[in-house]
């Protein structure tokens, strides 16, 4: 486990930098003139106190910079880093600068647990922020609970994490169950009747699949197939032959990046032609279109946030940037600080979660875990990531999803209707007519 620190005002914002040391204000006091012993002692004591007051507040996090979650984990990290930078530029919180201390969990649960234990008990951080993914948050939440240290979690969207009576873990995203709500709503409004729901057999995709089945039933769509596949599946042809046999109007796939790509390829290979096809995680990454090319066009995806929201106008008239305060600053800073780096909702979630956490510290007036928890529960205002309000269990109730469709290599927001500057290209044409 490599330990890294990030004190934004004194370092370049590069996630992989190793062994950097946070600059504090513990400058050695040099007394150049001989003074009576009593006066010298008094001055030394006063300066020591002042130095202590100016020491940065150290916030720890376990982040995936290697392993399966490396790409999106680093997006989240960049969000944290920019949030710390901007907060420090405004003087920090509680009169002190902030220092981010993070270590690579290699996308593995046991490593993440060890990191949080170490950050809290050995490194003595004053607070923590969440890791990437529901999988890692599920185990890290036990550590935050054990030490009663509030943990705002940017990219954990499985509701069960927040339904176990825990008091110190807080959700920022919309829940997994509604990731494909836009896909189902568009399908229902266009009179489609049947849907097949596919999902990886892990925590987050299973929750999304379960929610999608419920949403489909509520909207009168018949679920003709609901099936999951093991993590790491690369050959989706057997599963998609079942889909072809069921001949659904809609294929809804709760995925990560690799399976989203593989399923799209298999649909084409087997010439399976649903009228709508949507994926979840991974489908929103620019890489999705880079890898698939024109085969990515017409694919729908659910997104928690998109950079376009900063400039979008509801009904073509009313800017909605107010619902994402600080987002424009975040997007601009991201492009400047991390040129060429992927800017996804995972990055914005990191930034927004950090904004919420720092706001709670300000309101609490201290780093006391119970006071910060109470402050978080009282927040009912948006961050750069969108609406934020949680219930007693830390479950998110205010954030809203958007649905996009790849259209000629661009992600076009097509749902909700009031934000949709363009219509979905519907129905998706058969592969042989594209």
């Amino acid at each position: 486990m490599k330990r890294r620190t990030f004190l934004a005002e004194s370092e370049s914002a590069v996630p992989h930098r190793r062994g950097t040391t946070a600059v504090t204000h513990r400058t050695a006091l040099r007394v150049r003139f001989a003074l009576p012993a009593l006066v010298a002692a008094f001055i030394a004591a006063a300066m020591a106190s002042s130095v202590e007051a100016q020491a940065p507040i150290r916030i720890g996090a376990s982040l995936s910079t290697t392993g399966n979650y490396a790409a999106l984990g680093q997006n989240q990290l960049r969000g944290y880093q920019l949030c710390f930078k901007h907060a420090n530029e405004k003087g920090g919180v509680l009169g002190r600068k902030l220092e981010l201390v993070f270590e690579d969990d290699q996308s593995q649960e046991p490593v993440a647990v060890r990191i949080y234990e170490k950050l809290i008990t050995q490194d003595k951080v004053s607070g923590i922020l969440g890791p990437y993914s529901s999988q890692l948050t599920e185990v890290a939440a036990d550590v935050s609970e054990k030490y009663r240290m509030p943990m705002v979690t940017p990219n954990a969207s499985v509701p069960s994490i927040f339904k176990k009576g825990r008091k110190y873990v807080f959700m920022v995203t919309s829940p997994a169950e509604v990731y494909l709500e836009g896909l189902i709503d568009i399908a229902a409004k266009r009179g489609l009747k049947t849907v097949a729901v596919l999902s990886e057999d892990t925590l987050f995709p299973k929750s999304t699949a379960q929610g999608t089945v419920e949403l489909a039933k509520k909207r009168g769509l018949q679920v003709v197939l609901a099936e999951s596949y093991p993590k790491g599946t690369t050959d989706f042809r057997p599963l998609l032959r079942k889909v072809a046999a069921a001949n659904p109007d809609v294929v809804a796939a709760a995925t990560y990046f690799d399976d989203a790509v593989a399923i799209t390829r298999a649909l084409k290979e087997l010439d399976v032609n649903p009228k709508m096809f949507g994926v979840t995680v991974g489908g929103d990454l620019p890489k999705f279109h880079e890898v698939l090319g024109r085969d990515a066009d017409f694919v729908y995806g659910g997104s928690q946030w998109l950079p376009e929201l900063v400039t979008l106008r509801a009904g073509g008239l009313i800017p909605i940037a107010r619902q994402y305060p600080g987002a424009a600053e975040f997007v601009e800073a991201h492009r400047k600080e991390f040129p060429g780096a992927d800017l996804s909702y995972h990055s914005a979630a990191g930034y927004g979660a950090c904004q919420i956490y720092l706001e709670a510290i300000k309101r609490a007036g201290s780093m006391d875990g119970a006071k910060i928890r109470d402050a978080i529960l009282k927040i009912d205002s948006p961050s750069a990531y969108g609406g934020f309000k949680v219930d007693e269990g830390g479950f998110q109730t205010a954030h809203k999803m958007v649905t996009f469709q790849w259209q000629e290599a661009k992600k076009v927001i097509v749902w909700p209707e009031e934000l949709a500057a363009d219509k979905p290209l519907f129905p998706t044409p058969p592969w042989n007519k594209r």
Binding site: G316, L317, R322, E417, A421
Partner: protein
């Protein structure tokens, strides 16, 4: 307190027979075998202006299927009224069958660009004052449409404001000084404010900087009245000012209330589009626009935002709640 519906009845009686004829003809409005091109012009920032969405929905209900019977060439000028003439001329050159406009600059530009292609407008507050038609009952020329009744509703909007914010001393009315309807609305606002014993401060602006300067003058304790014509993003500025400085504001349409505005009194943009679809359908079937009387928006809504009222520290009187057509929690 609020009796705009009486205004509407007066309008409706003037255009009643013609409207009946349109509705009666609606069932068989779609003419088989011909695809029509509808040119759309407004000052929105994207193609999905609610009036356009309403037009599409209205035409769909009348049997015109998009892509089969009608196609839309949508031009929007991103809040810049000066870009209207160029876009209007481009649509005329493209050979559209009818021009569908929203707001006065778009309608005037369309009228100036062609005397032949029919123009059907929405969001025009006072079509005669704006110079787009000669008479409401007999518009003459190639222009007809749906009036949003701006000048007639000024007094009612001030009444709404006074009811929600009884302590208001001064109301700011920031409007596009090049808009002739704005001048008439301003005078009606001055008259109504005198009756209601409220200070009324009209400011005409000619650019976005003017809007900002005017809003900088607004102080806590004041209130704002948004104009119907939204050149230079005046209404957006008013919405932001209202929320940032806790200054109550009343808007002309409910869309603004969905996004944080306190209250609106007037016709819905989408509904105007739906209503105008009947006129567009009639025109496409061959009726000359000069034979189609201008219609008043057929529904005036009072819409309230209770969350915003709470943020502004305003108690919502029961009598207003009972009169509201829509309430956003």
């Amino acid at each position: 307190m609020i009796d705009g519906k009486r205004l509407v009845r007066r309008w409706v009686s003037a255009a009643f027979l013609a409207t009946l004829a349109i509705v009666a003809g609606a069932a068989d409005a779609q003419v088989a075998g011909r695809q029509y091109r509808i040119g759309v012009l407004n000052d929105a920032w994207a193609a999905n202006h609610p009036a356009v969405e309403g037009l599409k929905a209205g035409l769909r209900d009348l049997g015109f299927q998009e892509g089969r019977d009608v196609v839309f060439d949508v031009r929007f000028t991103k809040g810049n009224p000066r870009a209207m003439p160029t876009e209007a001329e481009a649509l005329v050159k493209a050979g559209v069958d009818v021009l569908f406009t929203s707001n006065e600059p778009a309608t005037r530009a369309a009228k100036a660009a062609t005397r032949k292609i029919p123009v059907v407008f929405t969001l025009v507050g006072d079509p005669v004052t704006a110079g787009v038609v000669a008479k409401l009952a007999h518009p003459g020329g190639n222009v007809t449409g749906v009036s949003s009744l701006t000048t007639d509703l000024m007094a009612k909007r001030l009444e709404v404001l006074k009811t929600l914010f009884p302590g208001v001393k001064r109301v700011w009315f920031i409007h596009d000084s090049t808009d002739p309807t704005g001048a008439v609305a301003m005078q009606k606002g001055i008259d109504a404010a005198q009756r209601l014993r409220i200070g009324f401060v009209p400011i005409g602006v000619t650019n976005a900087e003017g809007v900002k300067s005017a809003l900088d003058l607004v102080k806590p304790g004041d209130a704002l009245l948004a104009p119907d014509q939204d050149g230079f993003d005046i209404s957006v500025g008013i919405l932001e000012k209202s929320l940032a400085s806790s200054v109550p504001a009343v808007f002309p349409s409910s869309l603004w209330i969905e996004h944080g505005g306190l209250a609106s009194y007037g016709p819905d943009y989408y509904a105007q589009g739906v209503q105008a679809a009947q006129l567009v359908a009639k025109v496409l079937r061959g009726t000359p626009p000069e034979d189609l009387p201008v219609q008043a928006a057929d529904k005036i809504d009072l819409t309230l935002n209770l969350k915003t009222a709470g943020l502004l520290g305003l108690a919502m009187p029961r009598k207003v709640l009972l009169r509201a057509d829509r309430i956003r929690q």
